[in-house]
């Protein structure tokens, strides 16, 4: 099987090369030589259409119309090749767990590049900035934005912005100035370069790349806060990179003499304009998408298409206005998630999710393969030991310094401080990737005499970070973690107690109001529920959220009834009216449906540790979920745990409440008879629930409890089912009141 795919892959590339050779051979003119990119549709093709030459001797039954199809054919072929490479890479899982997929794809790119170079004597296919920025990058970023865990992202927004803006500026400045200093000191020999060019180079090499980060962090499972920091930083730093790049590019064009305070101030202002403008464009398009999906009920079959088109348009619009395109498309994805998921039909939502993943994964594969291929091109290689080594050193060292410095400052203001190991992973995980390469390839050779040097350096930096750091990331994390953990195995008591501590901390945090509802967030939630949902969501979508509640209501009503029945039976209280009331509601569902027969007796000597490990509730802090993944679509599995805990808690609360009230019942019986006169419609005979009667519903603590639970429902951000659980208590209570009022 492996052999077959390898052969197929090689065969495809050979086919590509031979096709080209054949084409060149049969070409009349020599116009074919410089068509490097599959994405650029040359004008020569249509003109030189084979078979339409002026001299036709007779009718040709079959003609070889290569030029007719050249451009789309090559594109399709390359996509196929990239897909097959991915298949080859994924053949061996042991390999992919050691070496990240991106590194392997680059290696395959090298092989392919080598083959093509060997066949063509020049590198005909490279990753050009146009193709990269217009056709390969947008879907990757849209995918990132659409699947972004919003709550996590926004709660860590401050830290992410600090790293993205200040961190990137720091990196750019230090790398640029460091290199300039070393150049002045003569470490790089004689190259035609200046301070501004160094700063420009610094700014484009400073940015952490989202594509590379995701690709590597897929393998290394880190906690979600750390992940969102690095990921968020890699997405948001585009705002800074674009500004710095354009500013320094303009400065280089102007020449050093023209720079004065005005220009610098303009540069700073342009940062704000670019960043906020880009985000604004994204938000506007998100609104458009949401509004559009509100009306597409009759064309559900092409609904998904709108998302992609409008997302792409947001990217292009920002690019057109010279704002940050990445920020635009990220915010478009982030803001529209909720509304389009609510508005669109379920199948459309699934379609969007899967197509998004397909496109993003495909683009990423193509990007890495081409990054590899682009290297096999002697024309761009300029080696300058000093420059290259110093760049590598500086980006590495200054990243560490920058992250540690910023984290030290941030930890003073954060609730949950970032630990040492997190900082190490964050520094080490600052990978550079294709964005840097794309930017450097856009440089104008006339202004930047040393463009090839920069290109070579960028390529080496990308390979170093993606491959070396990618490969060593996992061992590094394991090593650091092992070093800190105790060598001895924990005792049972310690394990239990650790978990107890975690639950305790979470509870105290909730009680003291540390995490979660704060004033601004509550305000935003209220605003959003009232206005935005009304404006952007279909009326039926708003209602169907209630529909789900209703279904759960029915199920829980059954549960509640059977519970009441069960409790009453155990308390053995005589109720004459009971049978009447409960007769028409025959519950077939037992509340204790979870206690199944335990047939799993693992072995004679069962391992208590193992059992405990498996079954202890994980609680909020323990969940090391990888919220965003390029290749996996996961559903939330913790609902069972939450449901179990919730039911148990409510049950015990209800029991204690009931036992408290029932203990009071006999003494108050007489009084209720008197109160019968006041509220004739409510009172009718006694029963265990008569104590309810003399308590006004509004002052009833449990009802008040429930009301506030329901209002704070909207604060729950997770899946709809998680918001439903508090309602079941409501239903239990309603049940009591119903029974009680119907007596």
């Amino acid at each position: 099987m492996a052999c077959r795919t390898c052969l197929w892959l090689l065969g495809t590339t050979f086919f590509t090369c031979t096709v080209r050779l054949v084409v060149e051979g049969t070409e009349v003119g020599a116009t074919q030589g410089s068509h490097p990119e599959p994405g650029v549709v040359g004008s020569n093709h249509s003109q030189a259409g084979g078979g339409h030459g002026s001299s036709i001797s007779g009718i040709q039954i079959v003609t070889f119309k290569w030029h007719h199809v050249e451009a789309p054919y090559l594109i399709a072929l390359w996509i196929l090749v990239a897909g097959v490479s991915k298949m080859v890479v994924e053949l061996n899982h042991n390999l992919t767990s050691v070496i990240p997929e991106s590194a392997l794809l680059i290696i395959i790119g090298w092989i392919l590049g080598g083959i093509i170079y060997g066949a063509d004597k020049m590198q005909t296919f490279t990753l050009t900035p146009t193709v990269f920025f217009f056709y390969l990058l947008p879907q990757v970023i849209l995918d990132a934005g659409y699947f972004m865990p919003n709550k996590l992202f926004f709660s860590n927004m401050g830290a992410i912005l600090v790293y993205a803006v200040i961190g990137t500026c720091w990196n750019a400045a230090t790398v640029g100035l460091g290199l300039w200093g070393c150049w002045l000191g003569g470490a790089m020999g004689d190259i035609d370069i200046g301070l501004l060019q160094f700063l420009l180079f610094g700014s484009l090499i400073a940015a952490v790349d989202p594509v590379a980060v995701i690709a590597v962090f897929e393998e290394v499972h880190v906690n979600e806060v750390l992940f969102i920091m690095v990921f968020g930083e890699s997405l948001l730093n585009d705002g800074v990179t674009v500004v710095l790049f354009n500013v320094f590019d303009a400065f280089v064009s102007l020449g050093g003499a023209e720079i004065d305070a005005v220009e610098i101030i303009k540069g700073i202002i342009s940062f704000f304009v670019v960043a906020f403008g880009g985000s604004l464009v994204g938000i506007i398009f998100a609104l458009l998408i949401s509004l559009l999906t509100r009306c597409t009920k009759n064309i559900q079959i092409i609904e998904p298409g709108f998302i992609f088109i409008l997302g792409y348009l947001s990217y292009l619009t920002a690019e057109m206005l010279s704002l940050s395109a990445i920020l635009s498309i990220v915010f478009c994805g982030i803001c529209c998630q909720k509304y389009i998921n609510a508005n669109m039909d379920e199948r459309s939502v699934t379609t969007v999710r899967y197509v998004m993943k397909v496109l993003a994964n495909g683009s990423e594969t193509i990007i890495f393969v081409f990054l590899g291929i682009s290297a096999i091109d002697p024309a761009v290689w300029v080696w300058n030991t000093g420059f290259i080594l110093l760049t590598l050193l500086f980006i590495f060292v200054f990243r560490f310094i920058g992250v540690f410095l910023l984290t030290w400052i941030l930890n003073k203001y954060r609730l949950v401080p970032l630990e040492f190991i997190d900082q190490v992973v964050m520094s080490y995980g600052g990978l550079r990737g294709a964005v840097a390469y794309g930017l450097v390839a856009m440089l104008d050779e006339n202004k930047f005499k040393e463009k090839n040097l920069m290109v070579s350096t960028t390529l080496i930096v990308v390979y170093f970070t993606v491959m070396l750091q990618g490969i060593t990331m996992k061992p590094l994390v394991t090593w650091l973690k092992v070093k800190r953990a105790a060598v001895t195995e924990l005792t049972l008591a310690e394990k239990i107690q650790n978990r107890t501590f975690d639950h305790m901390l979470v509870a105290i945090e909730d009680i003291s109001g540390q995490i979660g509802h704060n004033y601004m967030r509550d305000k935003w939630h209220n605003f959003e529920e009232r206005w935005l949902c009304w404006f952007l969501m279909k009326p039926s979508a708003r209602k169907s959220r209630d529909y789900i509640f209703n279904i759960f209501h029915q199920l829980n009503l059954k549960d509640a009834m059977s519970y009441v029945k069960e409790v009453r039976a155990t308390h053995k209280v005589r109720e004459s009216h009971d049978n009447l009331i409960l007769q028409d509601i025959v519950p077939s569902v037992c509340l204790d449906m979870h206690e199944q027969d335990l047939t799993m007796r693992e072995s004679e000597d069962f391992n208590a540790h193992h059992l405990l490990q498996q079954h202890l509730y994980r609680g909020r802090k323990q969940v090391l979920k990888h919220r965003y993944s390029r290749s996996h679509l996961e559903t939330n599995r913790d609902e069972n745990e939450v449901q179990e805990i919730f039911q148990r808690t409510m049950r015990s609360r209800l029991e204690s409440f009931k036992s408290a009230k029932m203990g009071v019942a006999p003494a108050k019986k007489i009084q209720t008879k008197h109160q019968k006169k006041d509220k004739p419609q409510k009172v009718r005979g006694e029963g265990t629930f008569s104590p309810f009667l003399h308590v006004r519903p509004h002052s009833h603590p449990l009802i008040g409890n429930v009301m506030s639970l329901s209002t704070s429902l909207l604060g729950f951000e997770t899946t709809s089912t998680a918001t439903i659980f508090p309602l079941s208590f409501n239903l239990l209570l309603n049940l009591f009141l119903q029974i009680d009022q119907s007596q």
């Binding site: 310690e494 509870a507 945090e509 909730d510 109001g513 069962f606 208590a608 059992l611 609680g619 659980f725």
Partner: protein, 195 residues
């Protein structure tokens, strides 16, 4: 107590709480506003229902036990002082406090007080011993429904076996401390309260 409006916290009270618990002025005011927002009855004290109103506690396995821990023995209401006293257990231990004058009474957030708080979560009847039943109750709250009672019982037995030193088949407070001597209690039972 009584009918005094509980919307204002007096300076003297803040000072007293500061001395007793070690919280800073701004932390105390912040937590006071949290206290009043929980206090729906506006009578200056919190009842169990006020705590139960916090939705997240309903999905915390130890939620009700922690709520209980706020209420002193046999009482149903907790005032702000009591609230802060309980929360003080979770203050991080600062370095300068470790060198404090040994004559002064032990701060609420010392290691042994933290452990005492955790111990009391198990030991409901306050007999200074965690019996097998008490341990079983807590275990049952913390595991899923797929463990049978027998299995849970064996886990409880083995846990007690590991910790018990004087053979009375229950865990006393000293044994509890000994078992957890390698655990970084200071870090595991501390929250950074906002400044």
């Amino acid at each position: 107590m009584g009918s005094r409006a509980s919307t204002l916290l007096r300076e003297e009270e803040i000072e007293e709480i500061k001395k007793e618990t070690g919280f800073s002025h701004s932390q105390i005011t912040r937590l006071y506003s949290r206290f009043t927002s929980l206090d729906k009855g506006e009578n200056g004290t919190l009842s169990r229902e006020d705590f139960q109103r916090i939705p997240e506690l309903a999905i915390n396995p130890l939620g009700d036990r922690i709520i209980n821990a706020f209420f002193p023995e046999g009482e149903d209401q907790v005032n702000f002082r009591g609230f802060m006293r309980t929360l003080a257990h979770f203050r991080p231990i600062e370095d300068n406090e470790k060198n404090k004058d040994p004559i002064a009474s032990e701060p609420l957030n010392s290691r042994s007080n933290k452990l005492l708080f955790a111990f009391r979560l198990y030991d409901l009847d306050r007999d200074d011993k965690i019996s097998r039943d008490e341990l079983l109750q807590v275990l049952r709250m913390m595991v899923g429904v797929n463990i049978s009672d027998e299995q849970l019982g064996s886990i409880a037995d083995r846990t007690i076996q590991e910790a018990d030193q004087n053979g009375d088949n229950s865990i006393s407070f000293n044994e509890f401390i000994k078992v957890l001597e390698k655990v970084d209690v200071e870090q595991k039972m501390s929250i950074r309260f906002l400044h």
